[in-house]
């Protein structure tokens, strides 16, 4: 087996996979995408000059792969298929929670759902900063942004999450009350 692949796999595979999973929220798709990350990495590994750390370099490639996949999803084919295939249309909003999430407490499930309501940039920052616990510098490096852009995006993202979490809570509370009355 390729020594480069072997090394990267050992060091970062689960990180990259998890990052992609939280971006696309679909295990099968994340499995495909992580392979795409390796393909891009192996093709351009000679060009990796060690300017940034290996880790942020991998994250930046993973981020590009994720964004490309979003673009692909929005291709004309999908749009047309969606129109005809009503079953996917209904399912799409209520994707079943993966097992790992479903067994967690309610708040975790809620925040997992709320991630959908962030923009892609905001989601990138949230996942990198809080789930993977990258530093601001590492995040800026991976995204090719300035540190101040990371900070403002992070601030806005938390605000969006907060708003929606409260909104969710309020709705849920009302539902519960409704049940009690009956």
């Amino acid at each position: 087996m390729d020594s480069v692949f072997d090394e990267l796999y050992k060091k970062y595979h689960q990180d990259v996979f998890q990052f992609l999973f939280y971006m696309v929220k679909n295990k099968e798709l994340a499995e495909d995408l992580v392979q795409e990350v390796y393909i891009r990495v192996l093709k351009s590994y000679e060009r990796f000059e060690g300017k940034s750390s290996e880790k942020t370099w991998l994250f930046s490639i993973a981020r590009n792969v994720a964004i490309d996949s979003f673009r692909k999803q929005k291709g004309w084919k999908q749009k047309i298929m969606e129109k005809f295939d009503w079953s996917t249309q209904q399912v799409k909003d209520e994707l079943p929670l993966p097992d790992e999430i479903a067994v967690q407490r309610e708040e975790i499930q809620m925040i997992y759902r709320c991630l959908d309501l962030c923009t892609i940039d905001q989601r990138l920052v949230i996942i990198m900063r809080y789930i993977h616990e990258l530093t601001i510098t590492e995040t800026a490096d991976s995204l090719g942004w300035t540190e101040s852009k990371v900070k403002t995006t992070q601030h806005r993202a938390l605000k969006v999450l907060k708003n929606h979490m409260e909104h969710f809570k309020a709705k849920e509370g009302m539902d519960n009350e409704g049940i009690k009355v009956e």
Binding site: Y9, Q14, Q18, Y22, V34, K43, Q104, I108, I126, Y130
Partner: protein, 418 residues
């Protein structure tokens, strides 16, 4: 819980507790799928160029016989042309004696024998002729030139009309080719053809036929323009300006020495700007004609090459000026920005232009039209030929860049409706 506020810290805490998600596959399994995918991608990059090469070969195979034929027919054309030019000399010689006879039926022009038939007789081989027809068609799918060249002239007379564009901002010289007619002078052809022009279809404004009776004294080369009382030509200063330009172009193109102006048979026309004038004397104009592009039918259409009169020191300055858009006249630069060149040598009516290495000279319509603009401007600076050097290709449209290019006969060839 209702109405509870989340703090940043609580959210961060929550996010850090998100479960770890693991890829359950084996690394070997992943490596294998990657390898398969990578080899597939490599295959793909190989397939496309191969398919393109195969298509190109096929195309070459189909076109090669036609191109070879075209060579033949080009030779034949020259033969025909030399024959034709002999006969046209005779015709013009005759013209002077017959010119007075203006009563001849205008229909006879239409009935005039088709020179195409003559061509067939010359070649004596109808099969060959039809083949050359086909090859000419395959040629015309390339970028086609807009001007009239010497080789277009066989048996034809060029008539040039100055036509205002839609905004009456520019005057566009449009040339049409009509069959030579031994019974008619060039002036007669000019007058008859006036009514066949389709200015509006060309994207210009309707101007011909002139709303006037024209009578031409062939011997003294004197034209009399007799307008009706309600003529439009003094309606505005723009109309007067147009008429002035149109008349002076007619004078130049038809070698007329004098133009008399009349209104309903009485001498003189009353102009708002110039007053009462009975003899048209063209204003002496200095400078040279520099050609620009006019896109009268949208940016994708074939441009008109429109001359602006500019006082410039040299052809070098003129060619430099052609790289500028002339927005005040709605005219576009006729030499693209990415083409740079040096004027190398100027002698014996021959202009040598050497393109810089960075210039992109490729075989496409914009480059072809730029070359035509250069040729037309060179013509106005009294050059006979232009040699273009250091181009990336040897051939652009009909131009063989390894040869000296002859300047065109006239700009903006357009076809008349049948």
């Amino acid at each position: 819980m209702k109405g509870s506020k989340w703090s940043d810290e609580q959210l961060q805490e929550l996010l850090s507790q998100m479960p770890k998600i693991k890829d359950s596959r084996d690394s070997r399994e992943i490596y294998q799928t990657i390898q398969i995918k990578m080899s597939k991608q490599k295959k793909k990059t190989w397939i496309m160029p191969a398919a393109a090469a195969a298509a190109a070969l096929l195309l070459l195979f189909i076109l090669a016989p036609n191109l070879m034929n075209w060579q033949d027919s080009a030779d034949k054309q020259i033969e025909i042309k030399s024959d034709q030019s002999q006969s046209s000399e005779q015709i013009t010689g005759d013209n002077y004696s017959i010119a007075e006879d203006k009563e001849s039926d205008p229909e006879s022009l239409v009935k005039e024998e088709d020179p195409q038939e003559d061509h067939a007789q010359f070649s004596g081989d109808p099969e060959k002729d039809s083949k050359s027809d086909i090859s000419m068609k395959s040629l015309s799918s390339e970028a086609s030139p807009t001007a009239v060249y010497e080789e277009d002239l066989a048996g034809k007379e060029v008539l040039t009309y100055s036509i205002p564009d839609k905004e009456a901002q520019n005057i566009v010289p449009v040339s049409v080719l009509v069959d030579n007619d031994p019974d008619r002078s060039k002036f007669d052809l000019f007058e008859v053809t006036m009514s066949k022009l389709t200015e509006e279809a060309w994207g210009l404004s309707d101007y011909y036929p002139l709303k006037a009776n024209l009578s031409f004294d062939q011997g003294n080369r004197m034209l009399t323009v007799d307008v009706p009382a309600d003529h439009p030509y003094s309606r505005s200063s723009a109309e007067e300006y147009l008429l002035e330009n149109v008349l002076s172009d007619i004078m130049k193109n038809l070698e007329i020495k004098k133009i008399n102006l009349r209104t309903e048979g009485k001498a003189g026309i009353e102009f708002g700007h110039y007053g009462y004038i009975d003899e048209f004397i063209p204003q002496k104009r200095n400078g040279n004609l520099i050609y620009y592009f006019l896109y009268s039918n949208g940016a994708d259409s074939t441009p008109f090459l429109v001359p602006l009169r500019e006082e410039l020191n040299s052809v070098k300055d003129a060619l430099k000026a052609m790289k500028q858009n002339r927005t005040e006249n709605n005219l576009h630069a006729s030499i693209p920005d990415n083409i740079d060149f040096e004027i190398e040598e100027i002698k014996d009516g021959k202009l040598i232009i050497r393109f810089d290495n960075e210039s992109e000279i490729v075989d496409n319509a914009p480059t072809l039209h730029a070359i035509e603009a250069i040729l037309l401007t060179a013509k106005d600076f009294d050059f006979d030929t232009v040699k273009l050097e250091n181009a990336d290709v040897d051939k652009i449209g009909k131009f063989d860049l390894t040869e000296e290019l002859k300047v065109p006969i006239a700009a903006n060839k357009r076809d008349l409706p049948n």
